[in-house]
Symmetry: C2
Subunit: 161 residues, 2 copies
């Protein structure tokens, strides 16, 4: 199946490059990464903390159908509205370590935009373990939800913040 | 010259492993990384902010003999007293990007300890550029100062916090 979110994983490297083009203006794409109410919808997670600023932090929590809770959290090194977020990311209680993520938001046209996400792992082994998860499908599905949710007229018109 | 701080830089990788053994008890070595008054002495820098906790941040500033100021800062993802600090690091206004640093503090004996510092760069190119600086000498000299300063009887006896 042709997935719209592309993942480039070079052999033997401890990094991934993830790219996705959206039929969304840059400002709406960026909003989907910083507004807790929108994040909760497309990521399917509860936003316990999200400090959108240099030296801020975030804490998210997901609950599976059995009621088990999974936490993930990180710190935001750099926050440049509509352009760039550099942060760490950790899936708690997993062997995947702590990652450095550089998210760049790019305007393609008035109605289209692109996410470039560079993820750097502590080791090649950790990156390769993550790639054995249904990672590519998961992020592609999440991005599809992002596209659908933020495309709703209420978001486009700015009625829902 | 035989430097006590060892840097392992494998070709083509975007990471460094820095190790140093100190003639210091683990608790004193750790203190040298978290007490602003001690950091200022061995790093030769002003500590403008240092939040020693999960999701804390730090901001340091160095002034050269001409009065030019150089800032560096980062966020602390994980802070485990006497064991581990995972943080980001940025030398501001340089092309070296933002690094992920994993510092592990290890007890060797009652009087000796070891620092294992894993630094991960955004790219191989950035790491290689940093290695062209007098980086190895600089960190070795700073660690020598750390050893000397924290060895003073006042620190060892716990009189100076």
């Amino acid at each position: 199946m042709n997935q719209k979110t592309k993942i480039n994983a070079e052999d033997g490297r401890q990094e991934l490059m993830i790219t996705r083009e959206f039929d969304l203006p840059l400002e709406l794409l960026f909003k989907a990464y910083v507004e807790p109410g929108i994040i909760e919808q497309w990521m399917g997670t509860k936003v316990l903390k999200l400090e959108n600023r240099n030296h801020g932090g975030y804490q998210f929590e997901t609950t599976d159908p059995k009621g088990n809770k999974y936490g993930f959290n990180g710190v935001i090194h750099q926050f440049v509205p509509n352009r760039k977020i550099t942060r760490t990311f950790e899936m708690e209680n997993t062997p995947y370590g702590i990652q450095l993520e550089v998210l760049e938001f790019e305007k393609l046209s008035d109605d289209t935009s692109k996410l470039n996400m560079h993820t750097i792992y502590e080791s090649v082994e950790q990156r390769d373990q993550v790639l054995k998860l249904p990672f590519a499908q998961g992020i592609n599905m999440a991005h599809n939800r992002l596209q659908d949710i933020v495309s709703k007229p209420a978001y486009r018109s700015g009625r829902i913040k």
